[in-house]
């Protein structure tokens, strides 16, 4: 494997993963949202909940399809591009990845069909059960993938065999590795927040045009409630996860905070540009001692800097420093949005402030950006290791050539650009039509969004 092929494989994996993670983030949240909407509909029989369900079901189907096909890619890229990693680590994480397929993917795929196409074939109770099973499946999937990734972040309970392969010595300890609980909670909350922001943005758009649109008024309040409750909770969970990093991945922490020297009372850099070559930051804007406090809870504590690690063991500091700040900055904006919306709600209704509606629309994609920034922090911050402290990314790659990986990377860029553009267009078009376009299922043959309905609809 040449250096070029290694670099191209890293770019390809980063690109395909960043593209993929958008859709699970959205569908984990949407599936739970749909389950809540269907439960509310079954309990109250209010048509508004059914309309909202059907409206978001169409967007769910579009996103889920994109998540499935971009996810299949991941399960093969471990072998095509990272075969040495696969071979060495399969004794530990192989079963976790297989469990994801067995316990989550089949469940989601099978009951999604019932959710989308089963309205006339099953009763309301069974249909609701299908929705709940899909929502459960998305969470189970997140469980296994975060479990595998957490083990790679902080490997425990394994031994090396004479031929170099790793084997698990305690499966429970592998599945529930020390960083897993906070990271799983962090990801699920991130998915719920990302979805709440999208639901909020779509509702805000409908209310911008017609502040009396009743379905969107309900959905906006649900989104505001979710933001109000979950965004601050996410800050606490994220902080717990960060404290984990202080102890378990000190090099990543030093990169996140832009610490070069090891010292007591580290400052917190609000802005800085870490320069690897000169081993210092440019353009620092800092608050004294706050850095030690946010990372350890003690303003006087001594925290390691990047210089404590050999240059070949340091992650790329600038990427990690900024991706972390983008994530946290957006998280704080979400807390603000939730509080603002709640205040307006208390004073008579969030739709009465056009400024708030504009802010809610602007924040629509913020969750996805924060998720990608967060994963960039986690994965780039782990470098140069693929399994922290055990295996370097550079020794994990497949024996494939640079021309092969160039060809596939270019093809992924082209195909994903087409798929993303089309998917975004179709989702935005649904949002532009609003929930009123979602007909109750028994009103006509072929509900909206179906091949049959589309075939009979007049061309616009």
């Amino acid at each position: 494997m040449s250096l070029d092929a290694l670099l191209l494989s890293r770019l390809q994996f980063a690109f395909t993963l960043a593209f993929h993670i958008i859709f699970p983030s959205f569908t984990i949240g949407l599936a739970s949202f749909l389950a809540v909407l269907e439960a509310l509909w079954l309990a109250t029989r209010r048509e508004a909940f059914q309309r909202l369900y059907l409206f978001w079901l169409k967007i769910f189907a579009l996103s889920f399809g994109m998540g499935v096909v971009s996810g299949v890619v991941m399960s093969y890229e471990f072998g095509t591009n990272w075969s040495v990693f696969s071979k060495i680590s399969a004794g530990v994480i192989g079963p976790l990845l297989a469990f994801e397929v067995l316990t989550a993917f089949f469940l989601e795929a099978s009951f999604l069909g019932v959710m989308l196409f089963g309205w006339r074939r099953v009763g309301p109770g069974l249909h609701f059960a299908a929705t709940c099973l899909v929502a459960f499946g998305t969470l189970v999937s997140a469980f296994w993938i975060i479990s595998a990734n957490s083990w790679m972040q902080y490997p425990v309970a394994f031994a090396a065999l004479p031929d170099g392969r790793l084997t698990a010595t305690d499966w429970v300890a592998v599945v529930f590795s020390p960083t897993f609980p906070e990271r799983f909670a962090h990801m699920v909350l991130a998915a719920y927040l990302s979805t709440a922001l999208m639901v909020g943005a779509a509702s805000a758009f409908a209310l911008w045009r017609d502040p009396r649109q009743s379905e969107s008024r309900i959905a906006l309040r649900m989104a505001v409630g979710m933001c109000l409750a979950v965004a601050p909770l996410q800050l606490l969970v994220g902080d717990a996860s960060g404290k984990d990093i202080t102890h378990r991945q000190p090099a990543k922490l030093a990169a996140i905070e832009g610490f070069w020297e090891t010292r007591a009372g580290q400052p917190f850099h609000i802005v800085a540009w870490p320069d690897r070559g000169r081993q210092k930051n440019d353009f620092e804007v800092s608050i004294p001692k706050l850095g030690s406090w946010v990372t350890t809870g003690d303003a006087a504590a001594t925290v390691k800097g990047l210089k404590a690690f050999a240059p070949r063991d340091r992650p790329p500091a600038a990427v990690v420093f900024w991706s972390f700040r983008i994530m946290v900055g957006l998280g704080l904006a979400m807390i603000g949005l939730g509080a603002w919306g709640a205040l307006l709600w208390w004073r008579g209704g969030p739709e009465r402030s056009r400024l708030f509606l504009a802010a809610a629309m602007l924040m629509g994609p913020a969750g996805f950006v924060a998720v990608i920034a967060g994963w960039t922090t986690a994965e780039v911050g782990r470098q140069p290791w693929v399994i922290y402290g055990v295996m370097r990314t550079a020794s994990a790659a497949s024996p494939v050539t640079a021309p092969e990986v160039s060809a596939s990377l270019i093809a992924f860029l082209v195909v994903y650009a087409i798929v993303f553009a089309a998917g975004a267009l179709y989702i935005l078009r649904q949002i532009a039509q609003g929930p009123l376009a979602a007909e109750p299922p028994l009103a006509g043959t072929g509900a909206p969004g179906t091949p049959l309905a589309a075939a009979t609809e007049p061309e616009p």
Partner: protein, 342 residues
């Protein structure tokens, strides 16, 4: 679980997953291949509705094939994936375009709809061709050094693998046509019957061509079937004779089904033909998972991982098969006017 031969059990499980993938996704890829030949947009809508509730579940068997191979036989996964880098990437990209087409096609307007119609047909054909390249390259053998792939990026490409790819496309088209005969009525049902009657002879021809070519190109396989260095050994062939006989029986089932205007006969026949081809491959290559340098025992994961996986599998797999069967039963019968969502 010390009494169990876990690597052997897992070889069977992975083989079963791949077989189920080929049969399940085979018919829905086949419908995509036939998409190009549909007469009217309404026929294409019906064709898509005939597979829409199943395709995602069908493709999950491919993920189990990949993820299961990684988990159970990491040595094979690590050796084979780089060897077939280009065809696998081609397959994944094709599956992306045809997979999103299920939803996107119903959202597109005039040009978007035409594009996704094309993407669905072209993606299905390309995915089948790419799988044929992988199979052809696999039969051809993989260059290994120390258990890792040590060949070139185009090792899989040979005239032989192009014939195999043609066979896979014809085979999937046959499965797809058989499925459409079960799920549709009237004119489209008639078209599906015609497609099946064209695909079946093509499959018979290509299956025979691939089988004979394999015997000539690969002495190891020929020896399994009786053509050894010391002449012809009839006893070896007779032991395996049931497999080609099964293929012939499948083809006869298709022919009789078509002649008697049976609804499900041709599909059942096509499944039997695939089964015979699959067993033929298994008989030719067992115990190799990467011909001809890596056996399933050499490629197997640690016993601890295999035991954990097996413990989970005996509980989960029956449940999966149960609800997959339930979903197929739920959407049984001809595709009607209420086929769309909701």
């Amino acid at each position: 679980m010390s009494g169990l031969d876990l690597p052997l059990i897992w070889a069977g499980v992975i083989a079963l997953a791949v077989l189920l993938y080929v049969l399940f996704d085979g018919f829905d890829l086949g419908v995509g291949i036939l998409f190009a030949f549909a007469r009217t947009p309404a026929d294409r809508d019906t064709m898509m509705a005939a597979i829409a509730p199943y395709w995602d579940g069908n493709e999950t068997w491919l993920v189990l094939g990949g993820g299961g191979l990684l988990a159970a036989f990491p040595g094979a996964y690590a050796a084979l994936m780089p060897a077939f880098y280009l065809p696998i990437m081609l397959m994944l990209l094709a599956l992306i375009l045809r997979g999103v087409a299920f939803e996107f096609r119903s959202h597109g307007r005039r040009r978007g709809r035409a594009f996704w119609t094309f993407a669905f047909a072209a993606g299905s054909i390309t995915a089948a061709v790419a799988q044929g390249f992988v199979l052809g390259g696999f039969i051809h053998g993989v260059t290994l050094k120390g258990g890792a792939f040590a060949g070139g990026p185009l090792d899989w490409a040979s005239p032989y693998s192009f014939v195999v790819a043609a066979g896979v496309v014809a085979g999937y088209a046959l499965l797809g046509a058989g499925w459409l005969m079960i799920k549709t009525r009237d004119a489209l049902h008639g078209d599906a019957r015609r497609w099946a009657s064209l695909a079946a002879p093509a499959v018979a021809l290509l299956l025979a061509a691939v089988s004979v070519a394999t015997l000539f190109v690969h002495p190891q396989v020929a020896s399994r079937w009786g053509w050894t260095d010391h002449g012809f050994d009839l006893s070896r062939l007779t032991r395996l004779a049931a497999i080609p006989a099964m293929g012939a029986a499948g083809l006869v089932t298709i022919a009789v089904g078509l002649a008697r205007r049976s609804q499900g006969g041709p599909f059942v026949g096509a499944v039997v033909v695939f089964l015979s081809g699959y067993l033929g491959l298994a008989a030719s290559f067992f115990p190799y998972v990467a011909p001809y340098g890596l056996t399933f025992r050499q490629a197997a994961n640690t016993n601890s991982a295999l035991a954990l996986l097996f413990g989970a599998l005996v509980i989960i797999l029956p449940v999966i098969l149960g609800y997959v069967a339930w979903v197929y039963w739920l959407f049984r019968g001809k595709v009607g006017a209420d086929a769309g969502y909701h």
